[in-house]
């Protein structure tokens, strides 16, 4: 069996429900990365909620490496936290870690991205497919259903990138618009800049750029600076920088997520688990399309 003492020993030591050995309960938050303001906001939301709820929050960061994330989840198990909030680096890679936690009687709640192949206590996230669709609908309206689009993709293999791409591409296919080029820029602003520059060189007739997050969208905005062509840039996330760019007109729109809310709901749901209250299996956090007022 895969049962091992690495997980079972602490479980024996902890009381049912995974409460920590002494005093205030401890909740672990395993982030995929903190190199993106989105996750920093998510963390902030979780920290505030933890303060309000009187629980301790321990944050670990995987720097986008699934193997590192498994290790940090294991470390949280060894630390005997009561609940683990998991923001997976990758949907398919963390099932083992989730199972380890569950064997140690530590419930897992996934945030922002799901885990395939393992049951979790609750999943709290935006509906990314719907978000991709929202972006496509916005462009269809602005461009009257005609035009060529460049798509900047997120880290290949993350569910966010896959789902946003799917929602967007499927919806675009129902219109007269066309995605003429798509390429990953890894959710990163500098890469967003150089990939946009290159794709724009190769595609003269482009009316819009859809970036799967705001960081890449802001890179695209830089690539367009100095060009007098009108190209609509649509991002995703609604980070502070992204919102500012929408207000100034540099970006046409962003599909705003509520990362703070995701973090806050995560802690609140964890608290419910500690207090042995029932929780929803799946919590969808609303998305909102932001445009210039």
């Amino acid at each position: 069996s895969q049962q091992g003492p690495g997980e079972s020993a602490p479980a024996a030591a902890s009381t049912a429900g995974g409460a920590a050995a002494s005093g205030t309960p401890v909740i672990g938050l395993a982030l995929s990365t903190q190199n993106n303001p989105f996750f920093v906001e998510l963390k902030d939301g979780a920290q505030k909620a933890a303060k309000d709820a009187g629980v301790q929050l321990v944050v670990v960061d995987a720097q986008d490496d699934p193997a590192r994330q498994i290790s940090s989840v294991e470390d949280l198990i060894q630390k005997r936290v009561s609940v683990i909030l998991l923001n997976p680096t990758d949907s398919s890679a963390l099932a083992g870690a989730v199972q380890s936690a569950q064997r140690a009687n530590i419930p897992v709640i996934t945030l922002d991205r799901g885990v395939d192949g393992a049951e979790v206590a609750s999943h709290i996230a935006s509906d990314n497919i719907a978000g991709g669709k929202m972006a496509a609908d916005f462009l269809a309206k602005e461009l009257n259903g005609k035009g060529n689009i460049i798509e900047l993709q997120g880290v290949a293999g993350t569910s966010a990138a896959r789902e946003r791409g799917k929602g967007f591409d499927d919806q675009i296919a129902t219109t007269g618009m066309k995605v003429v080029a798509q390429q990953p820029a890894n959710f990163d602003r500098a890469q967003g800049l150089s990939v946009s520059e290159n794709l724009l060189q190769g595609n003269n007739d482009v009316q819009a750029i859809f970036a799967q997050n705001d960081e890449m969208a802001l890179g695209a905005v830089q690539a367009l600076a100095g060009k007098n062509k009108k190209i609509l840039v649509v991002g995703f996330d609604g980070t502070p920088d992204g919102k500012t760019a929408v207000q100034s007109g540099a970006m046409a729109a962003t599909v705003a997520q509520q990362p703070e809310e995701i973090g806050k709901l995560g802690v609140e749901t964890a608290k419910k688990l500690i207090d042995k209250q029932p929780v929803d299996k799946s919590i969808a956090v609303p998305l909102k399309l932001l445009t210039k007022q």
Partner: protein, 314 residues
């Protein structure tokens, strides 16, 4: 045959033991600071975490001892992991798939060796070139998406236990350590590795056949990287296109922290194991102590710098 130590041997021993002493110190500090640290469960967890890096670092030790460097270990890990997972997804059995993955790792390593020996390309550049190539191949093969693995037997390789206690990856690490240690100390191959790193020209003039040796050395590194790739794929239930990014630096750090000279010709495998454990326990300890992940890197950087400053050779 004599137990008497002369001064320079004593000094060398102390330098060697520097990393062991460092590990002990870290151990004591963490035991005092965190009640969760010194438990069987935690120690075995760390050993399991360390195993991937240790497997790679063992191969890297041979490469560095021979005066080279292998930047492609992470890329080989990712590519062979993807191929192994891909074969299984295509319905092939576990034995065949793993065998193919390991064989591929060996061959890819030998390609590095060929570039370095026959191609006369500097190891840094040769393996840097193969990194780019292999990363591209991995992305093309996986189309950027993870390849999930469902074979339960395969999942044991990285996730199983022996006697319900010791994680299998720890066993692999131990076996690899013993085999590699024997290869290094007990065979002509190992002797020649060190000679090449110490003075390649002298080794060549003594009849050591440099090119086949380098094929073997880089091949071993590729093989062990592929094995690490199999274990990681098993642990992650899936092969990741971007797996292993930056692993070469962790492996090199383990080798150097263990007291092996980057210039080649001087070092030991035990040191590498200690170096890998140092890094692993440091990571684990910082997490257990709840140190903010931002500061974790600062602490690690300082520890690495202090360690190499203490361990430097005049």
């Amino acid at each position: 045959m004599t137990l008497q130590l002369n001064w320079s041997q004593a000094k060398a021993l102390f330098q060697r033991l520097g990393s062991v002493i460092g590990l002990l110190l870290l151990f004591i500090v963490l035991s005092v600071l965190s009640p969760d640290f010194l438990t069987t469960g935690n120690l075995l967890t760390v050993l399991r975490q360390v195993s991937i890096n240790a497997l790679i670092a063992f191969g890297m030790t041979f490469v560095i001892l021979s005066g080279g460097i292998d930047l492609s270990v992470g890329a080989i890990l990712a590519f062979t992991g993807a191929i192994t997972a891909g074969l299984m997804a295509a319905g092939h059995g576990m034995v065949l798939s793993v065998g193919a993955g390991l064989g591929l790792g060996l061959v890819l390593g030998m390609v590095n060796g060929a570039l370095v020996s026959w191609g006369k390309v500097a190891p840094f550049i040769a393996t840097l070139g193969t990194v780019t190539l292999l990363r591209g191949l991995t992305l093309s093969y996986t189309q950027g998406s993870p390849i999930p693995v469902t074979n339960p037997g395969f999942a044991m390789l990285g996730g199983g236990y022996i006697a319900n206690l010791i994680p299998l990856p720890v066993i692999w690490m131990a076996v690899a350590f013993i085999l590699c240690g024997f290869l290094l100390r007990g065979t002509v191959f190992g002797r020649h590795v060190v000679a090449i790193g110490g003075n390649e020209e002298a080794a060549r003039l003594s009849g050591v056949r440099i090119s086949p040796m380098k094929l073997g050395i880089y091949g071993l590194s590729g093989l062990l990287s592929a094995f690490a790739g199999v274990v990681l794929t098993s642990r992650l239930y899936s092969a990741q296109a971007t797996a292993g990014a930056g692993y070469e630096l962790d492996a090199i750090a383990a080798v150097v922290l263990g007291g092996t000279s980057l210039a080649g010709g001087r070092g030991w495998l035990f040191g590498t194991l200690i170096g890998a454990l140092l890094i692993g326990f440091l990571n684990n300890g910082l997490n257990l102590l709840g140190v903010s992940s931002f500061y974790q890197q600062v602490v690690k950087g300082i520890v690495i710098l202090i360690a190499v400053l203490l361990d430097r050779r005049q």
